[in-house]
């Protein structure tokens, strides 16, 4: 021990003036390792704590009303009628629209960045995509409210606050997720695949569509599922453009309320059972998100097994 330290002290720059006792080597090192372990466990405890508290706060409603809570189509919280089917339908209609618009665009963006873009163009597009991810959702919502909603009202009819408005805004918001992850999985396809295809006389596009896309499909699917999870959980942008009416939408021009919107709109004044019902809404949302995350985990694990 003594030798070790003195030899360390002779190395230029290797000298440590804090390292003067046994304490710093034995107990100190141990303490620091424990401290880092604690830091690493914060994330684990947070997830558990969040799960426990959300479930404790919302479970009484689900226990009391059961399927009527999830499949009930009427939401009159002040009269003790809690059915969140309209919100589930709202969330899924908005998210489905967002995927229909966002997935083709995101895939195109990913193919463009991975295969087509000259590096000078990629240097502009890639930071732009990152910036799209960085813009706060409330700014998207604000923009949607000011520009998109009046456009829809004027040219397509209805009040403007609609499934369509929510879908368009969400499509833009999930683009970065889909583009970045899909691009990474396209780039991860072994170069031999592409070279082999080109050597057989296939065009670049044939190679992309028949070789690269299928080979990268699990990563692409993972990106879509993650984008979907992001869209389901998105709150502010959606409540600012969808109108928040608690009715199952009949067309894409109808206003809707999503699960997230339901929570934010009423949390400010809800008390008692009403508040519990909002937490129960949170449980439903939480379960959807966890399922989607598990799905992603499953897909990427299978991908690494195959790869």
């Amino acid at each position: 021990m003594e030798n070790e330290r003195s030899s360390l002290a002779r190395v230029p720059g290797g000298h440590s003036r804090h390292n003067t006792g046994v304490w710093s080597r034995g107990v100190g090192e141990n303490l620091i390792a424990k401290l880092f372990l604690f830091c690493a466990l914060v994330a684990v405890f947070s997830v558990l704590l969040i799960t426990v508290f959300i479930f404790i706060s919302g479970w009484p409603i689900i226990a009391r009303y059961g399927t009527a809570f999830i499949f009930g189509s009427r939401w009159y919280p002040t009269q003790g009628v809690f059915g969140i089917l309209p919100m589930i339908a709202g969330t899924f209609s908005v998210v489905l629209g967002a995927l229909l618009l966002g997935v083709p665009m995101g895939l195109a963006g990913a193919i463009f960045l991975a295969e087509i873009a000259p590096s000078r163009v990629a240097k502009i597009v890639r930071p732009a995509v990152e910036l799209l991810a960085g813009i706060p959702s409330v700014v998207y919502g604000f923009f949607g409210m000011i520009i998109l909603v009046p456009l829809i009202r004027e040219y397509l009819g209805g009040v403007g606050y609609s499934v369509l408005a929510g879908s368009v805004i969400l499509a833009v918001m999930i683009l970065p997720t889909i583009i970045t992850i899909s691009e990474a999985s396209l780039r991860a396809v072994p170069a031999e695949f592409k070279e082999g295809s080109l050597a057989l006389g296939a065009t670049h596009w044939q190679t992309i569509s028949r070789i690269l896309l299928p080979a990268a499909s699990s990563g692409i699917i993972a990106s879509i599922v993650l984008g979907m999870a992001r869209a389901i959980g998105e709150t502010m942008a959606v409540i600012m453009v969808t109108g928040n009416v608690t009715r199952v939408p009949g067309s894409i021009l109808d206003p809707v309320r999503t699960l997230t919107g339901n929570i934010v709109m009423e949390m400010g004044y809800a008390t008692g059972e009403h508040q519990q019902a909002l937490f129960a809404t949170g449980i439903v949302l939480f379960v959807f998100i966890v399922l989607l995350n598990l799905l992603v985990n499953f897909i990427s694990r299978r991908a690494t097994e195959i790869g």
């Binding site: 090192e29 620091i32 583009i179 934010v264």
Partner: protein, 279 residues
């Protein structure tokens, strides 16, 4: 039927178009917000407190509230996040435990902000009795940005060549000495990128802050005072139709802050790339 060559030309044109549209969307949003808002931003707007619900006056107390909540979140999440990253990369062998911690970190990253808001509300605001306050908001946000800091720091630490550590251990340095003197310094710019991205996420967050820090327009003087952040202010101004010009001005401040933050992160990342390739 199109020949393969024609198909290729067609699809490539489509891809260029989509990429162009993606960039155009970003440019349109930023230019629209800034061009409408920049005219309303002046010293008085930035330095005066809001009056009559934000219809008059400026956004000074809101800026202070944003800085408090974001600052507190960083103060907690930065050391914990870096500590977790060091633990995951330097202190344990890769295996089941690391995978488990990493899985939970991923799950934490995937939890929607509104769920964080609900949790912060029931746990910090009510259960721990902190009320709507800077403290509740900052703690909630710190959990939200933790995964970002952990992941980026982990990447940065992993990028430090193994030979550095071997050299340090060979000289008889302990693990902590190696981490502190050899591993952390070259990883620092990468870690900073994570922290900066965390700042961006914290500033832009609305739902979680609304439920935990409240929306009071009063100047927060202590950690237990409620506060309103820029994004909450923008939400309330816009949806309650209080003042569109002030909403634009607030959105502009928010967008400029995000632009500066992203620019800083990019600059750091480029420096880092130069430094690594320089070795």
């Amino acid at each position: 039927m199109l020949t393969p060559k024609q198909q290729e030309a067609f699809w490539k044109a489509v891809l260029w178009l989509v990429a162009g549209v993606t960039v155009a969307i970003l440019v349109v949003i930023i230019i629209h917000v800034i061009s409408r808002g920049i005219g309303h931003i002046n010293w008085a707007f930035l330095s005066q407190n809001p009056r009559s619900m934000g219809r008059l006056g400026g956004i000074f107390s809101v800026i202070v509230g944003t800085l408090y909540v974001t600052g507190l979140a960083l103060l907690i999440a930065t050391p914990v996040g870096i500590g977790a990253a060091i633990f995951l990369t330097e202190y344990v062998r890769q295996g089941r435990m690391v995978n488990c911690i990493r899985f939970f970190t991923e799950v934490l990253a995937g939890i929607p902000s509104i769920i964080f808001g609900l949790f912060g509300f029931v746990f910090f605001v009510i259960y721990l009795g902190m009320g709507w306050s800077v403290l509740s908001g900052g703690l909630t946000l710190s959990l939200m940005i933790l995964p970002t800091i952990v992941r980026t720091s982990e990447e940065a630490i992993k990028a430090v060549p193994v030979s550095y550590r071997e050299g340090s251990y060979a000289l008889g340095a302990s693990r902590w000495q190696t981490v502190r003197r050899v591993v952390i310094p070259p990883a620092l710019p990468g870690i900073m990128v994570g922290v900066i991205l965390g700042i961006g996420r914290a500033i832009g967050e609305t739902a979680a802050v609304l439920l935990t820090a409240g929306s009071s327009l009063h100047m927060p003087y202590s950690l237990t005072d409620p506060a309103r952040t820029l994004s909450v202010h923008l939400y309330i101004l816009a949806t309650e139709g209080i003042s569109m010009e002030r909403a634009y001005a607030t959105a502009t401040v928010l967008v400029i802050a995000i632009l500066v933050i992203n620019f800083a992160a990019n600059l750091l990342m480029r420096r880092l790339a130069v430094r690594i390739s320089g070795f």
